[in-house]
Symmetry: C2
Subunit: 321 residues, 2 copies
């Protein structure tokens, strides 16, 4: 029996992850608990605890149950972290500090027998330009957003607590997850999903940037796959470098639109309205465009090889017909 705790379990990826573990029986037996500030309508039938991850007492309480695997997906998005500076550092960095110390307390209390797997969703926001054409596995982390700095600081803590044997952790630098189901969110990257999702649902979508913009994508299905692979693989294979650039698919917005045309025809494409937004354009210009994630591929992480596949995953998993 694996005791599994999903922090941020009410979010889109947390829900996909929980469903995947249940559906695919990733573990022979799994006792899953979700934790988040709020949960979507539509009960997964799993225990769900509401609370604020930034509260140290919450970490102590959650760690006291000694979960075998902790997925740490809880965070506020980059736009909010940029606007609410203190809140960003509290939620996105200090909560990792509290969590690791709480898990270490359990480790110490059991004379080291307790050592949970911790899978942390970091982000390609740990990188800042100028970039090479393809970002390699040895490229520096020099973030240009608070969100990126907070994720990078968490990676460092998780690596060191792991090196000392208190936990067994891995940080996954997720590509932009696309196509996100549901409504648009406040993230500046939201349009990458919107221009596909809205037309497939018969709605208009706003494209705020030039169609020459190149970006790095993976589907929600791949994200859930990254997480279960990270939870089950032998982390000794990381050889001490516990933060990983993940595979994804690099393409321009024009290529995204061509894939939409192949999937749903010109009528869908006609629903995309180009309304340039200088603020979004300049923010997106600072983001990574392409990677060469050799380590992650060698370690068995997989994602889509075309944007057609990414659209197909959305249609199969999320499109409401």
């Amino acid at each position: 029996m694996k005791k599994i705790l999903i922090l941020g379990g009410g979010g889109m990826i947390g829900q996909k992850l929980a469903q995947k573990i249940v559906r695919e029986q990733t573990f022979e037996e799994a006792d899953i608990t979700l934790f988040d500030r709020a949960f979507p309508v539509g009960d997964l039938g799993l225990p769900a605890i509401k609370g604020n991850i930034a509260d140290p007492a919450i970490s102590q309480k959650l760690a006291a149950a000694q979960p075998d695997i902790v997925f740490q997906l809880a965070s506020i998005v980059s736009g909010q972290a940029e606007q609410e500076f203190e809140l960003g550092w509290d939620v996105n960095m200090m909560s990792m500090w509290h969590l690791l110390n709480a898990l270490k307390d359990q480790h110490d209390a059991t004379n080291g027998r307790y050592c949970p797997r911790v899978v942390f969703t970091s982000s390609i926001a740990v990188f800042g330009g100028p970039y090479p054409d393809k970002i390699g596995d040895e490229f520096l982390s020099a973030p240009l957003t608070s969100y990126g700095a907070q994720k990078a600081a968490c990676e460092l803590m998780l690596s060191d607590y792991s090196r000392k044997g208190f936990v067994d952790g891995i940080s996954l630098r997720l590509p932009t997850i696309c196509v996100r189901p549901g409504k648009a969110n406040a993230a500046a990257s939201s349009f990458f999903s919107g221009i596909i999702r809205e037309p497939l649902n018969g709605h208009e979508a706003i494209l705020p940037v030039q169609d020459t913009v190149r970006h790095w994508h993976a589907s929600p299905r791949s994200a859930a796959g990254f997480l279960t692979h990270a939870a089950t693989m032998d982390l000794a294979r990381l050889e001490g470098r516990r933060a990983l650039n993940l595979p994804g698919y690099s393409c321009t917005v024009a290529e995204q639109i061509e894939a939409l045309r192949r999937a749903a025809g010109q009528g869908a494409v006609d629903l995309i309205k180009h309304q340039p937004d200088d603020a979004i354009e300049s923010m997106v210009a600072s983001w990574p465009r392409n990677f060469d994630p050799q380590r992650a591929i060698a370690l068995g992480f997989t994602s889509e090889n075309s944007f057609d596949e990414i659209i197909k995953a959305y249609i199969e998993d999320d499109l409401d017909r």
Copy 2:
């Protein structure tokens, strides 16, 4: 009048820095305050405050004086951070967090008029192997010690608080500082200084590693120079990448010993006794050996170009005759 606060002002580099600022009149007028847990015998004639940098109330108090320049050199050494895990994170990371928040409080209280220069001594310990032959300016920070992880986390915080305009910070990844005056300390790197310093003073020295070991050095004089340069240069030139690999001199222990022979003769060299220590040998094997610090050189940071120069700096500045 520049108000200058030197945290870690009782340490070897803090004392060298204060002396340099006074002697060379780096600033037209300087009001220097030293802060540390303890101070060496031999008063510099400067205000000196004793306290624990890990105490948040101390940061609030020191920030309330609104220093124009804060040198943050206070830290526990790598060996101690490795042995006393909680203490290491408290002193080496959380104290930066408290300091930055205290400085931001002053920034906020003055409606943003207060924005101090913060010069932080990071370390080449932010790097972990495997390394390229020469570590470039874009090589990842993947530390393999708690000390390195703590320094790297501080760099991230300082960069982000700077990007937001709360402080104007720079992180200097110091080479191993050699030849350290005074007594040997608990650092595993202590012998790099010991094998030069002890013979020059007529004492025996222990060499715990093979003389083929290569390492990256700069003198205490260069360290003080790095700090004053960082305090006075225009940090806009960093273009957002505020952590800097500094220049140094890469050589083997055999080359160090040859330079000692040239400076003080065979009699001095004969005082070095080779006593292999597997623990030190394996720790040193994991350290960076060489760098290609193009950015720092372009930004005007300078250090020695030979180990002879490094020995000369010790003889001129520190050797008791």
